[in-house]
Assembly symmetry: C3
């Protein structure tokens, strides 16, 4: 990884995928998404962990504090079921909440399915790392990423990271002025 290369943490949070009950399709879907929108100038840091709040917190802290990853996306664990604790873990490691991400992702998902209101996904900043919760299903992941990604490169620049080129045919990064 060169100094200006973008590292992206991709964290799949799922009891069943972790135990091998089924294959993780969400992490690879996110990986494919970023390969398409960022071009080649990034490297993934992949994690597959169970729906355990302490494990999620440790993983997010490690990616932010040890690996200094500019962007971390999680998938899974944002629903109302008793094992869904991803938002609680994300808030626990947060320095600052970014309420607009959750609002925008739910609003877009709501145009597809009424159950979008059940998603508790949020985004936060820890140090200089932006952490975004995504839903579990690959289709919803793409909808949510399309909704927020135009703002992400500028957000990373405001957090002190360099200017990264995106693939303009897939993602037009918006920068004010």
């Amino acid at each position: 990884m060169t100094e200006t290369e973008l590292a992206i943490g991709i964290v799949t949070i799922s009891d069943r995928a972790t135990s091998g009950q089924y294959a993780d399709r969400s992490g690879p879907a996110i990986n494919d998404y970023f390969r398409e929108v960022w071009g080649e100038r990034w490297s993934p840091l992949l994690r597959l962990i169970p729906d355990e709040q302490p494990v999620i917190e440790t993983t997010l802290r490690e990616l932010a504090d040890v690996h200094h990853v500019p962007l971390v996306v999680t998938t899974g664990g944002t629903g109302p079921a008793v094992r869904d604790v991803t938002p609680e873990a994300t808030i626990a490691v947060s320095d600052r909440l970014m309420p607009g991400f959750g609002e925008a992702m739910r609003a877009v998902s709501l145009t597809h399915v009424p159950t979008a209101i059940l998603s508790r996904q949020i985004a936060v900043i820890r140090g200089r790392t932006l952490i975004i919760n995504l839903p579990g299903s690959p289709r919803a992941i793409t909808q949510c990423l399309d909704a927020v990604m135009p703002a992400v490169p500028y957000c990373l620049e405001l957090l002190g990271w360099p200017f990264w080129e995106t693939n303009p045919q897939r993602l037009v990064a918006f920068r004010p002025k």
Copy 2:
């Protein structure tokens, strides 16, 4: 109440209705709403209490922890006035916040009245009980319930409750996949 019958807590929170200054019209409006959408397979647990945060908290805890009610809806006390403390009481008994409910209900209300942004209504989960704050006026109650109810049966199933039939002419419950 049979084992698979749905119990719904309906909590009117109003100093004036409690003291008899006027009749509670909001609780009955909610009762009528659920009679229409759920058919006959449910029973209401009605409460009428003042805008006192400790009383509201005790009532919500009793419905969730003692009566094991799957769904509790409150009406009243969500505005900015000094006696409006329903959201604070609801957050105080919450295990997990459900931000999408408040967002969706305000967004729908905002298409009717600009003062919808003054509503501080939220939804939370306590144990396996979903608690939803509704506004005070019967018309706004219907608008808000129509906005969120398609997602509620699936939410209750994710919380471990059985599949309940709704009246398909009035409420199409959405369940992913």
Copy 3:
């Protein structure tokens, strides 16, 4: 200031404007806005302070608790950059959160720029004072104020302040019933 005159606190939060690196254009833009919508029956209390959380908190407390200002609007410091701490200061002095303001302002801004989701602006009530965070740019300020101001006069009345006339050609205040 007569007894029924409206005082509005206008707080510009900006390291660079405070140090004289550039002129504050946001505070004057807000001042112009209220001159237009409220007519002459109000007086501004202007503040220009750096992005320091303790200073922001002290300023908000002084306007609410000492000057008993019904309405305070801030501009600046709501983004994701490390110096942006206006929402944290606002929450710290809050008695009650008003989530609908931030949601509505971001939703309106999002129709203009995708980076609207990066704004962390909120509104709160402290005692009988409504405090609203606005973004930093004059254009975004107008968009956000236009989105929420129709509900503000009624909100102030619910907080126990008198009925104030607005300029009906510029602002139609909505009051239910």
